[in-house]
Structures are given as structure tokens and as C-alpha cells.
Symmetry: C2
Subunit: 132 residues, 2 copies
DNA sequence: CTCCAACCTGGAGCGCGCTCCAGGTCAAGC
DNA sequence: GCTTGACCTGGAGCGCGCTCCAGGTTGGAG
């Protein structure tokens, strides 16, 4: 229920074993519990953090910022405002990222349409060059 | 009209001078014209390529693949099919990327809503942990 | 009790995409 | 003609986020 071997935590989180160890080493993941012999035992809470890190990483947050967030959370409830702001600020940048991605995707589609010679007339400067 | 100094090409393309030189060095940008003294003169065509590279890079295409595309284009018209396929394949990956980004953005928004304590009840496992 | 796969550590190395540097050249304005 | 800022080259270095390695330990199955 709550106590996963490293390989199981890796499987569930989608991070590699090395990445899990790395995240702990740099202080992103708080010190993970150990068996008497020193082997890691990941809790559901750890897994919850990993899900969050996956979310933040997939949306392009740098590790330094994730660590900042994690440290704030460890400091206690009084950092909630700062954490919310950090996430909000990140969300704004993700929105920009999404707009840019959509815009460039549209360009890409147009380029592909050019190759497929669909009847829609395209008169953009870019298409007029020999870049195709 | 058609003949830009390096600084002007950088300004128009949004790439740094170093990046422009780098792109030429690795064979991404074809050999750029020079003045008698050896200084680069970028053409409108070069600028068109840079716009394309910007598009592909912003959508996450690795440089090796961009170079492949550029080389195909230099080989001539008979590579058009392969180029179209390359772009199409990339577009598919961009679509996946957009879906993932949207999904993780939604998670992020939910997390932020949790911080703002809006009345909507959230019962996700992730929220139930101490990751907040 | 033995075996062996999974795990441990510290630290080096890597792949990507630039970015910076030293030391020298070019060219437009005065 | 001189100055000065933009430009040139080859090559080293960097920041990020892992990834791999050697050499040793642990612990569950048989």
C-alpha cells in the first residue's frame, strides 16, 4: 500500500532509477525512507511529489524552480502564498508556451499543405523562397 | 532589399550572431555569401530558412533533423516527398506534445485552484498528499 | 546457506544547443 | 589616413538534466 521499492517507484512515476536518486541528491525529493540495510522505500507521498514533478517538468519548469517549490513546501503552511504565486507565474509562462507552439504548428501545417499542393493559394514570403 | 549584414539578420531572425555562425558551420544554413573581405551577407532566402528553423526549433525538432531536411532540400526537387514526410512526422509529434502540454497545464491549474481554495471539491490522490 | 538480482555510493561523462573567447581583419565615418 | 565598431576564425567552455560506471552491499527465493 505505502512502501515501494525503487524499481516500483520508477515504474509508477516514469522516472528512471538514476533520476530518482538524482532528484533526492539535489534536494528535490526530500530524504526518502530507508530499510535497515539502506535501501530506499518510497511512500505514496513521495509518489505524489513525483507526479507533481512530472507535471512541472513536462511544462518546462527548470529544476531549480521545482526545488524552490519543494523547499517552500517543507518550510510549512506559511509559504503557501509564495508557492501559489510560483505556480501561477509558471502557468502564465506555460500559456505563452502553448500559444507559441500553436502558432508554429500552424506554420508547419501550412508548409505541409504547400507540399501537398492543395488548391488553397498561399502567398507568404516564406513559401515564396526556396526553403521548401 | 536582399543583402543583410549579420547584425541585421540576427535582429530579423531572432537568432544570435553566434547561432547564425553556428548554423552555417554545422551545415544547417547553406554557405552564406560573403563580401570581398569575407564578411557575411544574408539574403532573403537565408532569412526564409531562418524563419523555418525558428518554427521547427520552437516545436522541438532536434538540429540533426533540421539539417537532414536542409540537405534534402539542397539535393533538389526529387526529395520533396521525403521532406514532406519528415515534416508530417514532426507535425504528429508536435500534436502529441500539445496534448501533453494541455493535459499537464490542466493539472497545474487544478493545483493552483487548490491553493486558492475555490469551492469546487477536488478529491484527487495527488491533492490528498502533502505535496501542496 | 547460497545465490543473484536489485540495490547502494560518489563521481565522471554525455548530448544538446549554443555561447564565449582571443587574437586578428574589415569598412564606414570623420 | 585613422579610428572604431562590427565582423572574422577555430576552438574551448557552459548549463542543463540526466546517465553511466565501478566496486561494493542487501535481501528474498530456493
Amino acid at each position: 500500500m505505502s512502501g515501494y521499492a525503487p524499481s516500483e517507484a520508477a515504474r509508477r512515476s516514469g522516472f528512471s532509477l538514476d533520476t530518482l536518486r538524482y532528484y533526492e541528491k539535489i534536494g528535490l525529493l526530500a530524504d526518502v525512507e530507508r530499510t535497515a540495510g539502506g535501501q530506499r522505500v518510497f511512500t505514496d507521498d513521495d509518489l505524489g511529489w513525483l507526479v507533481l514533478f512530472r507535471c512541472l517538468r513536462d511544462t518546462g519548469m527548470p529544476i531549480a524552480q521545482m526545488r524552490r517549490y519543494a523547499e517552500l513546501a517543507r518550510e510549512g503552511e506559511h509559504t503557501a502564498d509564495e508557492r501559489r504565486e510560483l505556480l501561477h507565474h509558471h502557468a502564465v509562462r506555460v500559456e505563452e508556451q502553448m500559444r507559441l507552439l500553436q502558432r508554429q504548428y500552424d506554420h508547419l501545417r501550412e508548409k505541409i499543405r504547400f507540399y501537398e499542393r492543395l488548391p488553397e493559394p498561399v502567398a507568404e514570403a516564406e513559401q515564396a523562397t526556396a526553403t521548401g
